[in-house]
Amino acid sequence: MAESPTPGTTATSSASMERSAIHQAAEGSWPVLPGERNWGLLGIFGVTISAGIAAWSYSIGGAVSWYLQAGLGTFAMIAGALVGMYFVTAAAMPVSVKYGIDTIASCKPQYGSVGSAFGIIAQFASIVGWNCILLILLGRATANVLQEGGVIGSGANYTLSVIVTLATILIVYFMVIGGADSIRNNSVWIAVAVTIAGLIVLVQVIRSYGWTEIAVAEPAYASGDLHLDYTLGFEILVATVLSWWPYMGGIMRMSKSVKQALMPSMICLGMITGVIGLIGLYAGLATGDPDPSISFVKVAGLWMGAIALVFIFLANIGTAIVGVYATAIGLKQIPALQYRLTWKWTAAIVLLPVAIIGGVFPNWFMDNSLTYMYFLGLVFAPICGVQIVDYYFFRHQQIDMVSLFDYSPKGRYHFWGGFNPAGFLATAAGFFTYWYLLDPVTYLSHNTELFKWVSASIPSVIVAGITYWVLTRVIIIPSGKGGYREPVATSRGPVEAPVAK
């Protein structure tokens, strides 16, 4: 691919306007042209690793440790992480790489120019929620380690955890407001440091407890049906990794080719969630607590607790930064905010709810966070099914870019009032399929025998995809909606760029 020049550098255009246009692309809703995608392979790896390694994996591994021993749990977690990431990658990555657009823009052809607000809400709620978990966990871990090491008393624990949470939110804010370049530069060193710290923590978990003790430890809530528990462990990872969907476009649109983005997506976001989750699995089985920080202080002293803290700090801050960046870009898809809201204010809006929850009622949020996240997670499976069917089977990997930013009834993605009913009905079908196979609140299945063999997320993706295919074929296309009958490329041929090469 030749380096593409940037429009906006005509003699009549000012240099400031050019800079403004590039910022609108890199830190806004505009498509990023290949010539502006300056993260490079190293940057893409750095951002995906720093996002992919996060201490929420402790919670994920801890949940698996309720059902499976270490051996089967290890296999289920790695496999589940890869399958979940397959669906997210297939659905959201190629379109972002090809057109340089974020995840929210990429779902307009399926949900409609107005209906894509559904994606914005899902993205905002999901990433704000995950960021709350990450930053509250960091505050708590810091206070707990310092208390266990005798540095602070138990009375100061809550106050210190809140202070650390709020201070970290400020750090994240200042690292995000530098924009795309800042994200890339910070992520590379965070990725290196967090990988080393993560490996130290994983090895130390195995050394501290001993592999034999970990391997024979019994899961606390095993059903007695090993096949069922194996599928549950697998499903926990698939459903959780699907939560990468809202992050995908913001990161991958800075990649120049699908080939460049493939492994960072599958390995650095997907598989690494499973690998770091092993810390939570092993620690959960050995001690009942998936966060090994406190037990490290008991076993190896305060210094090891400090290393565990450094890991959590780097891991969570890297993920939080990328999350804020992706959500801020998503918010810029709201036309009223596109130009009027500065990047600093957009980042502040994303972080404000995190600060309120982290500062005012962190315990209430953490007590209810799993149910909240299970609901969000099951939304993303049907979205992936809908996107895959639409992008590959109906649109043949071609999106009309002008219509993507056209909110008028003339736009191809206006459908009816800006909403595509096929997208929403298919998503609902996938949602109920998931609920039938695995209730996200009770974690009980309405059809255990079927769930054991097919899990819940995979059928949800498939049912949503088939429903979308049928509705589009039977209703949407015959109605002449959605631009399915219109050619994508203009007949004018290549538009001459007003650019001095």
């Binding site: 042209l33 051996g71 990431m85 990658t89 194996y230």
Partner: protein
């Protein structure tokens, strides 16, 4: 420049950019080749199936 004029200029820049991406493949990122799709399917579907079956055979 007045603020509204600024917005109008940005809108014109956006339209130019959209037309370029729509009509000139050199303004697009490289899409997936069939080899990329096969690799993705191997890593994301075949390998996990092998891992799940292998885990069951060893520990099940």
């Amino acid at each position: 420049m007045a603020r509204q004029e600024d917005f109008d200029e940005l809108d014109r820049e956006l339209q130019v950019r959209l037309e370029l991406v729509n009509s000139d493949p050199t303004y697009e990122g490289e899409q997936a080749t069939s080899g990329d799709q096969v690799l993705l399917a191997i890593v994301g579907l075949v390998a996990p199936a092998v891992i799940m079956i292998g885990g069951w055979l060893i520990y099940g």
